[in-house]
Each structure stands twice: as structure tokens, then as C-alpha cells.
């Protein structure tokens, strides 16, 4: 039996050589949104009753991406074969509402059905699309996680400051700060609504300079800002950005950056796709390094 194991083993080899600082990739980190990129599709809610109205929202990142843009998003819901099929355009800056036919499950003869949703936008001649599912069922439990805000922590000359950010806020910092940490705050939902939350931070290069932010993973500085034992990375609830280039060893990276936080809800265990947790929420703000 031929099995494609080489990719995994190759990953191991590159890891080994990566440890000795050789063979590293020069590609941008995945958390850097070099050009416009779809980061999330949020559907309220991931599990709905027949007859409910769901709203859909797309999140596109990009250093020149205006979240209030009214560019057209093409929403394609369902498939022709499944009996549920809608295709329409809606502005990017508004929620797209869709009413679920009340008798859909009876028509399909099923107790639940996963409905695929495709959202497409054309930016600079390039088509970006995203595929997401939501579930129509008789006993909806899963909910979208809810990001209530982002807490920003930064320190200058031993003085620790904290600011709570709301969606779309702009945080301005100057070069007296070496790094800034951000923590996503989520609401505790009823038991079973969320299971395992997966966090992803993204950011753009500067929109008005050549500056770049880097995730700063130095434990000492993380603990200095967020407390003993704290952890921060682009895949954790908290992340810390260096304002002075990679490893905080370069010049001050003056500029305007867009920062995005995505939370996805995963099942604790999932033996097939019907057990998937499909909840998503996102948050964005702007970091202005003066």
C-alpha cells in the first residue's frame, strides 16, 4: 500500500533543520495579511431552526481594506440538488439576511441538514471566495462565540497601561512602547453552546509606511505585560506584537496597521462532520504607531 507519509516526515526534517536556524522560509507568516484575504464568514447562528432568519457577514483583511466598504458580496446559499439554493448580492458592510424555509426539513426528509454558503468578492480583479456551512436542525444548541472586546496592554518606563477596545476602534501608540499585548475577551455562553475555542490573530503590513508588525513570543516580556505564567501567540487568546521589528531588535515600525481576531468553535470530539461545531466570531481594530 502506498501511503503519502513523506509530507509529514519532510515536515519533521525541516523542523529539525529549522531548529538550527537553517532552511527557514522567507514567506510571510500566515498571520500577516499581505494582500486582501478572506478571514472569516460569520453566520448567525451556526445552528438554526427551520423558519429562522440568519444573517451572514464576511470579513476581508487588507491594509487598504475599509470595513465600511459597500463592495458587492455574492452570497450563494445551498445547492440546487439540496432544494435550498439562493444566490444574491449584498453590500460588504451590511449583514445579509436569509430566511430559512419553515418546511425545509420535511421536504428533505431529514432531522438536520448542513447548508453550504459561499461568499465571493472581487478585489483588484482577483476573485476571493469562502466556503462555510451552517446547520438547520430541530434542536439547535451551538452558538457563535462572542467576542465582547479586546484588552490592550502596553508598558513604558515601568508603567503598565490597559485599554479596552471595541470593534473598529483605533489605538494610537508612540515609540515609547516596545511591545503591545492584546487579549480577546469572550462571553461565557450557556453550557454546550461552545466547546473548544480556536483563536487566530491576523494583521496587515502598514497601510501608510513600509512598517511591519511581528508577533513577539519572548516569554519574559509576555509575563511582564500579562502576568506570571501568561502565554501569548497568534494562536492563543492573547498575542503580543513587537513595535520594533522582529524580536524587537529593529527600528520603530511607524505606521497604521489593521488587526483582526477570529474565534472558531470546534467540537471537543467529532467523529464525523455532523458533529462539527460551526460557530465563528470576529473582531477588528486599527493600531496606529505614531
Amino acid at each position: 500500500m502506498n501511503t503519502n507519509r513523506s509530507a509529514f516526515a519532510a515536515a519533521l526534517v525541516f523542523f529539525l533543520f529549522g531548529l538550527v536556524s537553517c532552511g527557514e522560509s522567507d514567506l510571510p507568516e500566515d498571520y500577516v495579511s499581505v494582500s486582501p484575504k478572506i478571514l472569516a464568514v460569520k453566520i448567525s447562528d451556526p445552528e438554526v431552526l427551520p423558519g429562522d432568519t440568519v444573517t451572514m457577514r464576511l470579513l476581508v483583511s487588507g491594509k487598504d481594506m475599509d470595513q465600511n466598504s459597500d463592495m458587492a458580496v455574492v452570497w450563494t446559499v445551498g445547492t440546487v440538488e439540496s432544494g435550498v439554493y439562493v444566490q444574491t448580492e449584498a453590500p460588504y458592510n451590511t449583514d445579509y439576511p436569509l430566511e430559512i424555509p419553515s418546511g425545509i426539513l420535511d421536504v428533505l426528509g431529514a432531522s438536520s441538514v448542513d447548508v453550504p454558503v459561499t461568499a465571493s468578492v472581487t478585489i483588484g480583479g482577483k476573485v476571493l471566495s469562502a466556503l462555510k456551512r451552517f446547520r438547520i436542525c430541530l434542536e439547535p444548541i451551538g452558538k457563535n462565540p462572542e467576542i465582547t472586546g479586546v484588552q490592550a496592554d502596553f508598558m513604558a518606563e515601568g508603567e503598565h497601561q490597559t485599554v479596552n477596545l471595541s470593534q473598529g476602534d483605533t489605538l494610537s501608540l508612540d515609540n515609547s512602547y516596545k511591545a503591545a499585548a492584546f487579549t480577546a475577551m469572550t462571553t461565557d455562553l450557556p453550557e454546550g453552546a461552545n466547546q473548544v475555542l480556536i483563536y487566530s490573530w491576523y494583521m496587515t503590513p502598514s497601510s501608510n509606511s513600509l512598517g511591519e508588525l511581528f508577533v513577539y513570543d519572548d516569554k519574559t516580556n509576555i509575563e511582564a505585560l500579562l502576568g506570571q505564567g501568561a502565554m501569548a501567540a497568534e494562536f492563543r487568546p492573547s498575542v503580543m506584537f513587537s513595535l520594533f521589528g522582529e524580536d524587537a531588535e529593529e527600528k520603530y515600525q511607524k505606521g497604521r496597521y489593521h488587526v483582526y481576531m477570529i474565534v472558531r468553535d470546534n467540537a471537543a470530539t467529532s467523529s464525523d462532520s455532523t458533529e462539527d461545531r460551526l460557530g465563528t466570531d470576529f473582531f477588528y481594530f486599527t493600531l496606529d504607531l505614531l
Binding site: N2, P28, S270
Partner: protein, 787 residues
């Protein structure tokens, strides 16, 4: 008259007090005595006792302890300065000389060895048996068995002795890698066996046979490419057949690479200990009795130790995203060979090869989804036992080879991303040949394969030839089922020599009982000896191959697929300038039909046989076979390999199309202490599909970006590449062992060897992926003791 006198003389002496010493002199030395029986009256001349002493011992090669048989030992009387005796050693290197007292010099001047001489006093009561160690002028740390050249009707075969294979610079101790320096072969290798496998005349690795003896084994590399499982000391030689091969081999459209297992040595116990860059290994071998010999070897990889060391370094950098190893990567392998000689030409051999690889780690940076966790667990192990009963009686020869393999593999990356398989294989292979006369030989064979597979898998579809890098993460292919497969095979060949012509027609039959297809492949090869040194050769044949398992096993694929077929046509000429220097020129054309292709991206488990293709090219090789001091070759291959993936689809290049491949290999031993090797390669870049900034679809629930590319694939080509590899071996000769160190420096000038393209996650940035040796000096060093 003299004889009679001598007998009488002995009788007389037998009553005397000097009997013992006189008898010891022996008949041959009686010429030193004098007596006279003239006049009818016996007159005894006063006897001077000769005091003959026996000097005995054995002659060995220093270091290897190999006995020097049939070697002349000159005995020079130091007084007269004359050679007084020149006995020969026997088959085991033993000798015995009887000498009168005096001072002598023993001299050995054997071909290939330094002159050896030593003065001895006779008698010398302190000396028992002499052990003479003569110093070889060149060293070969491998136990080489000299065999008759194989009488095979192949037209595209190249053979490498193990000494050559293990000495090709850049190969380290990976004998399989040395194949990639031969014409018609290309291997895009990121590191050791990692890459796109070994491509032979445009055919990918899965289309070629890689055999150990008459069978294949589950894996040739640890972790799919990290280090070779097969130790060079287990191998006697390698045969590489680029195409147009005989009916002996079936179910393959590409080429055949055969590793021939060496018999354990039967003259004495020996072995080696090797400490290398990636692993260390040992082997012991020797006779168990007059008829039985055994070898046993083991290897243990060091990668876990390197990672632990690297972790200590990384700890100081105080990062929060470290990979956490639950189980450090470890690998082992072992081999066992038992040989029993029943009688001359009648031997049984059992070879066992086993390997065990495992690791488990958690990578917090790895993208986590419903399907994929951040933890990857991998375990694989196998044990293969290959028997071989080689029986020769007159003009008849039979080789019966059973094989048993048990293997299991686990790859686990999450609740819904795992693959576990247990495979038990049984095979019985019988090859027989009968020589009707010097010009007519009949060959035939029968083979039965039974494979039992237990599968428990939740995986995705595998990427196929030419497909762009994507993953149907939304498609879950679950299977939890046992399968069994039975494949009967037979072949017949008739090798007839008529004057200068040798014609070998043959047919190979393979039955795919799962998909219900018969694979009947007629083949023909013709050789014409233009002169004693020059041979024209040609071959034609049909080569069929059943599809890959994931292509016909439901739910992964489509049951009932027909075999892929290829027609090979090869023509060439070989000319021997000397017994070991020859030129081989070949041209070939292969056409492919029934190639398995995915019908559409929307239904990735639906395959059809609508693909077709062709490859053609020419190869030239000037090769000097191994002598005591030197071997090497220069080869150039021109090749084109194109295909279409269905009716109406555009023609495109195969993934591994490599138009130009120039290789030079040179290994020279100026003396017994040093060996130098250099390898040069210029090779064209392989085709690729440029996905930079193509439209993408973000699969939100699986957190994956899928490129939406619908154009013709493989329209761009990676940069061509040239590199120089260098190897030095240094030997130290001791009485009973040889210590050797080697330094194998890959890609000395660290030229950028682009092996593929890499993209960031949404395909908005790309970069060249280069081989590991392009970025860091990859110097394999090792120390080995052969005893």
C-alpha cells in the same frame, strides 16, 4: 637405485640412536645425505644429522584477514643468498616448510600487495606457527563476492557493485541513491529520500519495481526518506534496468531496480561497527558450521538526540511556540541472513529485514480545525522474511523464493484525520531455467501474491500526478474494513542464439483478481554481436501495471479500473574498449495508454483510464568499471515526457520531465590509505504550475485556502541546477581490522537546487523551495571499523 639405497639406509639407521632426527628429515631431504653401495659391500658414510625443522603458518591480508590462497612464499638462504624453496599457500592460506637450521628470509611478492619479507632463524623454539600479514596496495572495506557475469537478456541494464554504489559521492551510505547517478534516472531530492522519488525515463517511482531479491519490501527509507533502511553491507550488487526489460518482471511500466542480497561470509567471523552522522550500526557475520553461515546487523538513528540538543539551544531563546515532542522520533532497523549450503549448487538462504519508526509531537502553531488537531502521531514498522532455495543440477536451475511480510502503519492527526493499516503479505516466487544447449535457454517462472489488508482510515484524497497542490478537506473518506488480494503471475522466455544474434521472446501474465483484468505482456529483445567488442541491441514490449490502491479501492477510488499500459521500444549499441571500459548508447520511446486520471475535481474519487502519454529520449554513457584504483562514468540523458489527462484535455509535461541530465562520477584510490571521489551533475528543472495570486477559496470550517486553478498544469519550469559532491575516505590498516572514516560533502558549492515552489497560505506570496544542502553545508561524516 637411489631409492633402494635410501630405504636401506633408513633401515640401518632405524636401529641407531639418531633415528628420530633422521626420520624427521623425510624423503625429500635425503638428497643432502651421501652414501655408497658400490663394490657390493655396504659402506655407511658418516651421517651428519640434518635437524630439519618445520616452519608453518598462514598468510593473511592485513586488516581484512582474508587468506591469500595459492600464493608463493620464497625462502632465501641468507648464507648462500639463494632461493632454496618456494612453497605455495593452500586454499585457506596455510603453508608448511621444512628447513635445515640456518637463517632464512621469507619473501612474498603477491600481485596487489606490498612486498613482504622477514628473516627467521631455524630452528627457533619460541616460534610456533607464523601469521604473515601482507599489506594490500588498495583497500575495499566491503566483503566482495566475485561472481560470473549474469547472463541476462536485458538491453538497458546497468549493474553496480556494492563498492561502487557505496562510493558514489553524495550518496552517503544510501546505496539506492547511487542509482540516481545513472543515465535515465532523475530524483528531485530535498534531503536523502525526500522529494519526488526516483523517476526512470519519465516514469514516476510508483511505476517502477524496487526489489530486494525477488520481492519488494514495505519501505526503503525511515520516515519516508530520512535514511536508508538497507545497509550497504547487506547488499552484494545492484541492477538497474531503465526499460525494455524482459518478461521476468511484470506489473511495472517504468524500470526495475534490484538489490541483490549478499551471502554471509563463511570463512571466518567478521563484521563492522559504523558511527555516522545520522545513525550508528553494526553487523556480525560468520560461519556456524561447514555449511551454515549467518549475519546479523542493527541500526539506530540519532535524530531524537539531535532534537533534544536543539531543544536545549531553543530553550535559551525563551519562545512560547515550541513544538512539544510526546515521543521523540526514533528509528531502528535490523537484518538477519542465514545461509545453508546443502551441497554444491544447492543452497538455502533466509533473509529478514525489519524496521521500526515512530514519533509524536504537538505543534501549537499548526492550524487546528474540526478534523485536524495540533498533534501528529506516526508509527510504522515492518518485518519481511525472504527465503531462497537456489538449486542447480546440470543444465537446470531453480530459484524458489517465498516471502512473508507483516507491516503496520499509523498516521494520526486528529479525530477525523487518521490512517491505520495492517498488511500481511505472502508471496511464492519460482524461477526456473533450463539450458538445452549452449545456444538455447528456456526460462520460466510462477508467482503467487496474497495480500491481506486491514484498514481503518478517515483521510483525504491523495494528490495525483500533475495535480496542483490542494486538499479536499471537505471530503472525508472513511473506511474500516479488511481486504484481501490475490495476484497470480507467470512468465516464459526463450533465449536463442543464432550466430551473432541472440533473440529472447517472452510473455508475462499478471491477473488482477480484484478489478478482474488480465495483464498479458509480450516482449522481445534482440542482441547482435557486430564484433567481439560491439553489440547492437533492441527491445520491444508491452508493460502493464494495475492502478494504485487508492485509485481502485472504494471509497477512495473506482473499482474495476483497467491496468495502465505502456509500450517500450529501445535500441542501442554498446562497445567495449577494454574489459572494463565501455560505451553504451541508447534511444527509447515509450507510449502510455489507459493512464488513470481523476475525472473531475468535483468528484475526486471518480477515476477513469482516459489518460495517455509518451516519453522519448536518448542516453549515452562512458563507463569504467571498478578496478583496484578507479571507477567512474560520464552519462548524458535527453528525455521528454508528456501526457494528457483525458479526452480533449491539453497535452502537458509529466511532473518529472527532465530534458537534460549530465552526470560525471569519478572515484580514485591513489594508495591504500586514501580514496577520493567527485560527482558532478547538471540537470534541468522540472515543470511546475504557478499558483501565485490565483483565485482562492477559503474553507472556513477547515481553515484552509484552496487555489482555484483551472488552466494547463506544468507550464512553468524550475531553474536548472548543477552541483558538485565530494567524498574522501581515509583508511587505517591494523592487523585484524580496518578503521575507516569518510566525509561525504553534498553540494560543495551550495548552489541553489530548486526542488519546488512554496506559497503562503492564501497563495499571495511564493518562494523557491531548495534542497537542504543548498542552504547548509551537508557533510556526512562517519567512522567505521571492519573486522
Amino acid at each position: 637405485m637411489k631409492t633402494f639405497a635410501a630405504v636401506l639406509f633408513i633401515l640401518i639407521l632405524s636401529v641407531g640412536s639418531s633415528f628420530a632426527e633422521g626420520a624427521a628429515a623425510g624423503l625429500s631431504d635425503l638428497r643432502n645425505a651421501s652414501f655408497d653401495i658400490s663394490g657390493g659391500e655396504l659402506e655407511v658414510v658418516p651421517y651428519e644429522p640434518l635437524n630439519l625443522s618445520t616452519v608453518s603458518g598462514k598468510v593473511l591480508e592485513k586488516g581484512s584477514r582474508n587468506p591469500l590462497s595459492n600464493t608463493k612464499i620464497h625462502v632465501r638462504d641468507d648464507k648462500s643468498r639463494k632461493i632454496v624453496q618456494a612453497p605455495m599457500t593452500d586454499e585457506l592460506g596455510f603453508f608448511s616448510i621444512e628447513l635445515v637450521p640456518g637463517s632464512y628470509t621469507l619473501i612474498i611478492a603477491a600481485s596487489g600487495y606490498d612486498k613482504w619479507e622477514k628473516t627467521i632463524k631455524v630452528p627457533d623454539p619460541a616460534r610456533q606457527d607464523l601469521v604473515i600479514r601482507v599489506v594490500p596496495q588498495t583497500l575495499n572495506p566491503y566483503h566482495v563476492i566475485v561472481r560470473k557475469k549474469k547472463d541476462k537478456p536485458e538491453v538497458s541494464t546497468q549493474s553496480l557493485s556494492i563498492t561502487e554504489a557505496a562510493s558514489v559521492p553524495g550518496s552517503g551510505r544510501d546505496v539506492l541513491k547511487s542509482i540516481t547517478s545513472l543515465p535515465g534516472v532523475n530524483s528531485v531530492s530535498v534531503f536523502n529520500g525526500y522529494g519526488k522519488g526516483i523517476t526512470i525515463r519519465g516514469s514516476s517511482q510508483e511505476d517502477s519495481l524496487f526489489l530486494v531479491g525477488d520481492h519488494t519490501i514495505p519501505a526503503f527509507y525511515h520516515f519516508g526518506g530520512f535514511e536508508s533502511i538497507i545497509e550497504p553491507e547487506l547488499i552484494e550488487s545492484m541492477d538497474y534496468n531503465a526499460g525494455g526489460f524482459s518478461a521476468e518482471y511484470g506489473n511495472a511500466m517504468g524500470g526495475v531496480v534490484g538489490l541483490n542480497i549478499r551471502k554471509p561470509r563463511s570463512d571466518r567471523f567478521g563484521g563492522y561497527v559504523n558511527i555516522g552522522f545520522l545513525s550508528s550500526s553494526f553487523m556480525v557475520e560468520g560461519p556456524l558450521s561447514d555449511k551454515d553461515s549467518v549475519s546479523f546487523g542493527m541500526k539506530r538513528g540519532f535524530i531524537d538526540q539531535y532534537i533534544k540538543m536543539a531543544e536545549k539551544v531553543d530553550e535559551e531563546t525563551n519562545k512560547d511556540n515550541d513544538v512539544n515532542f510526546v515521543k521523540y522520533p526514533t528509528y531502528y532497523d535490523a537484518s538477519l541472513t542465514l545461509n545453508h549450503r546443502i551441497s554444491d549448487g544447492n543452497e538455502i538462504r533466509l533473509t529478514g529485514i525489519g524496521a521500526d519508526d515512530s514519533f509524536k509531537f504537538t505543534d501549537p502553531e499548526r492550524s487546528v480545525s474540526e478534523r485536524y488537531s495540533d498533534t501528529l502521531n506516526h508509527e510504522s514498522r515492518f518485518a519481511t522474511f525472504i527465503g531462497e532455495w537456489d538449486y542447480r543440477e546440470g543444465a537446470f536451475r531453480s530459484v524458489l523464493s517465498p516471502m512473508v511480510t507483516s507491516s503496520n502503519l499509523t498516521w494520526d492527526q486528529g479525530e477525523r484525520a487518521y490512517h491505520k493499516q495492517d498488511v500481511d503479505s505472502f508471496a511464492l516466487n519460482e524461477k526456473a531455467e533450463y539450458r538445452l544447449n549452449d545456444n538455447h535457454k528456456f526460462k520460466g517462472g510462477l508467482r503467487m501474491d496474497y495480500v491481506k489488508v486491514g484498514l481503518d482510515s478517515d483521510s483525504m484524497v491523495l494528490e495525483k500526478e500533475g495535480e496542483i497542490s490542494y486538499d479536499h478537506t471537505d471530503l472525508e473518506l472513511k473506511i474500516n474494513k479488511d481486504f484481501s488480494f490475490f495476484y497470480p503471475t507467470f512468465y516464459m522466455m526463450d533465449q536463442i542464439t543464432l550466430g551473432s544474434f541472440t533473440v529472447t521472446p517472452g510473455v508475462h501474465y499478471f491477473k488482477d483478481t480484484y478489478n478482474h483484468h488480465d495483464l498479458i505482456d509480450p516482449r522481445l529483445s534482440v542482441r547482435y554481436n557486430l564484433t567481439k567488442e560491439t553489440t547492437l541491441k533492441t527491445a520491444w514490449g508491452i508493460y502493464s501495471q494495475m492502478p494504485q490502491y487508492d485509485e481502485f479501492l472504494e471509497p477512495w477510488g473506482t473499482k474495476g479500473l483497467e491496468p495502465e499500459r505502456s509500450v517500450h521500444a529501445v535500441a542501442g549499441v554498446e562497445h567495449y574498449f577494454t574489459d572494463s571500459l565501455y560505451l553504451d548508447v541508447q534511444a527509447y520511446r515509450k507510449t502510455f495508454t489507459n493512464l488513470v486520471v481523476r475525472e473531475s475535481a468535483d468528484n475526486p474519487t471518480a477515476y477513469s483510464n482516459s489518460g495517455k502519454g509518451k516519453s522519448y529520449g536518448a542516453e549515452i554513457m562512458l563507463r569504467q568499471n571498478m578496478t583496484d584504483r578507479f571507477f567512474g562514468w560520464v552519462s548524458y540523458s535527453y528525455a521528454v515526457a508528456k501526457r494528457t489527462d483525458g479526452n480533449g484535455k491539453p497535452e502537458r509535461y509529466f511532473d518529472m520531465d527532465t530534458p537534460h541530465n549530465l552526470v560525471g562520477v569519478l572515484n580514485y584510490k591513489p594508495n591504500r590509505n586514501w580514496s577520493f571521489g567527485v560527482r558532478y551533475q547538471y540537470v534541468s528543472g522540472t515543470p511546475y504550475t504557478d499558483l501565485l495570486n490565483v483565485n482562492t477559496r477559503y474553507d472556513v470550517d477547515n481553515d484552509t485556502y484552496v487555489p482555484l486553478y483551472t488552466g494547463t498544469v506544468n507550464t512553468d519550469r524550475l531553474k536548472s541546477h548543477q552541483q558538485v559532491d565530494f567524498r574522501i575516505d581515509r583508511y587505517w590498516l591494523f592487523d585484524d581490522y580496518v578503521l575507516s572514516t569518510y566525509l561525504d560533502f553534498r553540494n560543495v558549492f551550495q548552489s541553489k537546487y530548486v526542488t519546488s515552489k512554496a506559497y503562503n497560505e492564501d497563495y499571495t506570496a511564493s518562494e523557491d523551495v531548495v534542497s537542504v544542502d543548498s542552504e547548509i553545508p551537508l557533510i556526512f561524516v562517519g567512522m567505521k571499523i571492519d573486522f
